[in-house]
């Protein structure tokens, strides 16, 4: 029952950083197509830092709240720090074990963000 805790539902119903960035380094979209989840992220990178992030998308409570919590936490962190994160980091947001079919919902946003940072670095070269 713990999966849909107050905080998870709050981030789902009122996702933080939901929308677009006017100034951005890169935009990346990815999804778990069979589930009908997609996340699109704008990222602004500056001096090796994640300056700003915004996302849009449709998805289940797990994928949307994970994107909301992740973008909130990662704003202002260094690119290297974010790249070093593993799936375990996002699992902590949920404070309970996720079943195999739900882990991919939870890690989608991290995958999109890391992909954006890799491609963003290329673009800034």
């Amino acid at each position: 029952m713990d999966l849909y805790r107050e905080i998870v539902l709050d981030h789902y119903k009122h996702p933080r950083n939901f929308g677009n960035l006017a100034k951005k380094t890169i935009t990346i979209e990815d999804g778990n197509v069979t589930c009908g989840d997609t996340i699109e992220m704008d990222v602004l990178m500056k001096n090796g830092m994640v300056e700003d992030i915004a996302f849009r998308g449709i998805g289940c409570a797990i994928s949307i709240s994970s994107a909301s919590m992740l973008t909130e936490e990662m704003k202002g962190k260094s690119v290297n720090e974010v790249m070093a994160l593993s799936a375990d980091h996002v699992f902590k947001y949920f404070g309970t074990t996720l079943t195999p079919s739900r882990t991919k919902c939870a890690v989608l946003s991290l995958e999109v963000l890391q992909k954006a940072l890799v491609q963003g670095k290329e673009r800034l070269k």
Partner: protein, 408 residues
């Protein structure tokens, strides 16, 4: 139909998880299995485990007889005229791929057209989509109406005299819509008389009486595991008059008459398409599943399903924020109801229901083009079978109320 006593035959229904019973509402994905089927499958392994068609000894003869008896049982169940029209495969997917590979290699030529429909399960869409360009064949499909039914009116615009293969599902695994197979076959034949017509009966065979020869199609596919039988067994019926169009799909043992250094001679239907040692125990178990269904009677099964559908529909009508995909008349649909809940993703619906062991499906149900056509990312789906009760439906709606409370 005595559902209470039927339920006693299904061992899994006695299982408890988290101290609660299981409410199984995903029979369209796979049905539960009665003890009679499990025991019959076991019997092969315990009493006459031997390869078929090979041994001169008693138990091999016994296994062969049991295996071939199921071909006869299957023939009768589907009202085919000839047991040699029944090929055993692994599942519907393999039956359809067998047809695709055999037809592209033996029957289709450059410039020919293959027509499918947008509401197909991926297994009846992707093989044609993928293989057509390899053989210079044009791939096309028919769309759906707003009701989630096949758009039969547009058929005459899509099917042409060059359409050499037409393939469609008798019952959609999403909208549940029951197609008028006989009418569709007739319409296609009128435009393209020599068209090879395929019916995906995966969702029809478990629930209604099927007359393969009456339909007038060339081939019909279904899966044992959706109709009380074991997993790993599929049926492919190919009409005797059309089987000559098919080239062998798999080469190897069992399908051979003679092999020379430079050429081989093959057996006739159906062995031509059953290369290698089959899932012998599975086929034997499947025979028992058909007998089980026949003992109840397909008409009664269908009536029970319509009753459950009607009951579920009457309850759904109280939920203004739930949209049901497909026809609203229970008589026009199989025992499947896919739906969306406003503002709540299907995964979250399924996840919360799982806390009470209510098993439903969420996602696109291997029918992504259909969901795209309906402009929805995913749906939740409940589906029924002979063991489903009105109590199960009540439990499901209590679960839905809880889902709504969590997200309120």
């Amino acid at each position: 139909m005595d559902v209470t006593s039927i339920r006693k035959d299904f061992p899994q229904l006695t299982r408890f998880i988290r101290n609660k019973p299981i409410v199984y509402l995903d029979s369209a994905a796979t049905s539960l299995k009665p003890i009679q089927v499990l025991e019959k499958e076991d019997e092969y392994y315990k009493k006459y485990c031997a390869n078929i068609f090979r041994g001169i000894y008693d138990i091999s003869e016994e296994a062969t007889a049991e295996y071939e008896a199921v071909r006869e049982i299957t023939k009768n169940f589907f009202h085919s005229n000839d047991a040699n029209e029944i090929i055993f495969t692994r599942n519907t997917t393999e039956s359809l791929n067998l047809l695709a590979y055999s037809l592209y290699r033996g029957y289709l030529h450059k410039g020919d057209e293959v027509v499918s429909t947008i509401l197909e399960h991926h297994s009846n869409f992707v093989p044609w989509q993928q293989l057509s360009p390899e053989y210079g064949v044009v791939f096309n499909y028919i769309g759906v109406t707003n009701e989630g039914e096949l758009d039969v009116q547009s058929l005459s615009k899509v099917v042409t005299a060059k359409t050499k293969v037409f393939t469609f599902t008798a019952v959609s695994n999403v909208s549940g819509a029951i197609a008028d197979v006989y009418d569709i076959v007739k319409r296609v034949r009128k435009i393209s008389p020599s068209c090879f017509i395929i019916v995906d009966a995966a969702q029809a065979a478990p629930h209604m009486e099927i007359h393969v020869s009456g339909w007038g199609a060339d081939a019909v596919a279904c899966s044992s595991h959706k109709m009380l039988g074991p997993t790993g067994i599929g049926v492919l019926w190919v009409s005797a008059r059309s089987s000559g169009h098919l080239k062998p799909f798999l080469y190897g043992g069992e399908m051979i008459k003679a092999v020379y250094k430079d050429r081989s001679e093959f057996k006739e239907m159906p062995h031509l398409f059953e290369a290698g040692t089959p899932h012998i125990a599975g086929v034997i178990g499947f025979g028992k599943a058909i007998e089980y269904l026949e003992k109840i009677g397909m008409e009664k099964i269908r009536r029970h399903e319509v009753d459950i559908l009607s009951y579920a529909f009457s309850k759904f009508s109280k939920y203004k924020d739930i949209t049901i995909i497909g026809p609203k008349d229970p008589r026009k649909r199989g025992g499947v109801i896919a739906f969306t809940v406003k503002g709540i993703h299907s995964h979250d619906v399924a996840q919360i229901l799982n806390e009470d062991n209510i098993c439903i499906r969420a996602g696109n149900h291997c029918a992504m083009p259909f969901h795209t056509a309906l402009n929805i990312p995913s749906s939740a789906r409940i589906s029924f079978y002979i063991y489903t009760t009105r109590d199960d439906i009540d439990t499901f709606f209590r679960g839905i109320d809880r889902v709504k409370k969590v997200f309120s």
